[in-house]
């Protein structure tokens, strides 16, 4: 799917996609790097129902949130032939003790027998992260394991 870019002279760029329903969804990227999430109005497609200012982290988190399910679906499809193996995504919250720590610091594999197959950040996917990968708040961790292991992993990520 292609983005449609429209220049806003003196201010920045409007980047959007037109949904199957006809609604416009996108962002206004201002010169100073800040972004606004825009969603067009239903009865007046020229106007916006919402334009919400986002910080860089917030924009990244939304991107990861929207992008991760697609990855999870793909992985789950691949694991369909392996009974008992599930894929799930977890968002690293601000309160998590592992913010700004490396993936290795979580000792996830040793403690829960699950493994992180990818990390999605700001709409970008980092496949097969190494133990040295530094975690940020808002990162989406895509983890493969048994149901019980995944439950333990969820607890570990949030509470250490």
């Amino acid at each position: 799917m292609d983005f449609e870019d429209t220049s806003l002279p003196g201010l920045g760029v409007r980047r959007e996609i037109i949904l199957a329903s006809g609604r416009r969804v996108g962002v206004v990227i201002l010169r100073d790097g800040t972004m606004q999430l825009i969603i067009s109005q239903r009865d007046d497609p020229d106007a916006c129902a919402a334009s919400i200012p986002l910080s860089v982290e917030e924009a990244g988190a939304i991107g990861a949130m929207l992008g991760a399910p697609q990855l999870v679906t793909q992985l789950s499809d691949q694991h369909r032939d392996l009974p008992g193996v599930n894929t799930q995504q977890f968002v690293l919250s601000h309160e998590s003790p592992y913010v700004n720590q490396t993936l290795g610091d979580t000792h996830l594999r040793t403690r829960t027998s699950t493994s992180v197959v990818a990390i999605s950040r700001s709409g970008k996917v980092f496949p097969s992260p190494t133990p040295g990968f530094e975690l940020n708040a808002g990162d989406v961790l895509i983890i493969v394991g048994t149901s019980a292991g995944l439950e333990k992993a969820a607890h570990l990520i949030n509470n250490g």
Binding site: L8, P9, S21, R23, L30, D32, Q36, S40, D46
Partner: protein, 395 residues
């Protein structure tokens, strides 16, 4: 009291007063420009208190204010945006010029202010305030709207037109002969073309020359370059402001962004001084006499701006509510109308009546424009297509 002490006290009182007025303006979500003008009117010749000591400093400060206003305007645009804007919406620019220059020029001729007066007042009614409008669109959450690029490209063309208009104006005000004026305009056009080409090709190099990671160093280089270019332009009768505008265009990318950050407080200070000095030089007792004319001019040129915006939006395939929004957004006049009137008054080539009219006119539309933009939404509601309520989305 000796001279310097008096000047310091007067300057301090003026800036403090402006700061308080600015706070009041922010409370109502309006631009401080009209309040600065009112402040200037109150303290100027014929006003409540006569500020004598700061006139010399005020003149220079307001000149620097205009240079910084135009430099920052140039920084906002990249050469590519200007060229694209020129290519894609020149027709809207022409319609805008014809519809909005004519009422002011016609009134000036009717009043017997001659060709110079017509040139000045036409310019005052022509140019919308890109500063006020950009802020209003952003405050009202309209940056993502489809009609917004239409509005912005009209503003771009107006600002570019200023680069030709201001040299013509300076030449005319200086009383240059027809050939002298033509030479000036020729120089201006050649400079603009050259700067645009240079900025397109060597933008990064020019920016690198000015750029410095050290803030102090950067500021000195920027201000130095701006004043030098403005002075040279002025010496060639091309208008100091246009020189600064061109320099702003030539600086691009991240350098332009950091330059904006560094210059903003200085611009605010000196531009405030410019508006006050303009107000100071206008006798407030002359305003009531021209007020009916100012109101008439404001009404007519509001309608012509709405027509301009609506026409341009229609051409871009925007629906009726969007056309109304685009047209109404363009109503606000502000800083550049005052820059034009200020140039005219400083030259002494126009009557004081014209200055009073321009002041009253800008006061009216700088306040009314943003308010109208806010209410355009409600105004256009009846034009929305009726739809049967569907459960899929509430907004």
């Amino acid at each position: 009291m000796h001279g310097t002490a008096l000047i310091l006290i007067e300057l301090g009182a003026v800036f403090l007063g402006l700061g308080l007025l600015g706070r009041l303006a922010a409370k109502f979500g309006m631009t401080p420009v009209p309040l600065y003008l009112v402040g200037g009117l109150l303290f100027g010749s014929g006003g409540m208190i006569n500020l004598e000591g700061i006139s010399e400093f005020g003149e220079i400060a307001s000149e620097i204010g205009v240079i910084l206003l135009l430099l920052m305007l140039g920084l906002e645009y990249t050469a590519r945006e200007l060229v694209t804007g020129l290519k894609s919406s020149w027709l809207a620019g022409v319609v805008d010029l014809v519809l909005n220059f004519a009422p002011g020029a016609a009134l000036a001729l009717f009043m017997g202010w001659g060709f110079v007066g017509a040139l000045v007042l036409g310019g005052v009614t022509y140019v919308s305030s890109s500063g006020i409008i950009a802020k209003v669109l952003s405050d009202l959450g309209r940056l993502g709207n489809r009609e917004t690029p239409v509005v912005l490209s009209i503003l771009v063309l107006e600002d570019l037109a200023m680069a030709i208009y201001l040299p013509v104006l300076t030449a005319t005000l200086a009383g240059l002969s027809f050939w002298g004026g033509l030479r000036t305009v020729g120089v201006a056009m050649a400079t603009i073309t050259l700067v645009l080409l240079a900025a397109l090709r060597f933008g990064p190099q020019i920016s690198r020359l000015i750029h410095s990671s050290d803030q102090e160093n950067f500021l000195l280089k920027l201000i130095g370059a701006a004043l030098l270019v403005a002075g040279l332009a002025s010496a060639m009768h091309v208008s100091a402001a246009v020189g600064a505008f061109m320099l702003g265009i030539a600086i691009s990318g991240s350098t332009a962004h950091s330059a904006t950050k560094v210059l903003e407080p200085l611009r605010d200070l000196f531009a405030a001084m410019f508006f006050v000095v303009f107000g100071l030089n206008t006798d407030p007792t002359t305003i009531p006499a021209v007020l009916p004319l100012a109101i008439l001019l404001a009404v007519v040129t509001s309608l012509t701006k709405v027509a301009t915006g609506a026409w341009a939006a229609k051409r871009a395939g925007i629906g009726i509510p969007g056309r109304v929004r685009a047209g109404v957004a363009l109503i606000a006049r502000g800083e550049f109308s005052i820059v034009i009137a200020g140039l005219a008054v400083a030259s002494g080539a126009v009557t004081g009546e014209l200055a009073a009219l321009a002041t009253a006119y800008v006061l009216l539309l700088a306040v009314f424009g943003p308010i109208a933009a806010r209410f355009a939404e409600h105004l256009s509601r009846p034009f929305l297509p009726k739809r049967s309520p569907s459960p899929d989305a509430a907004i």
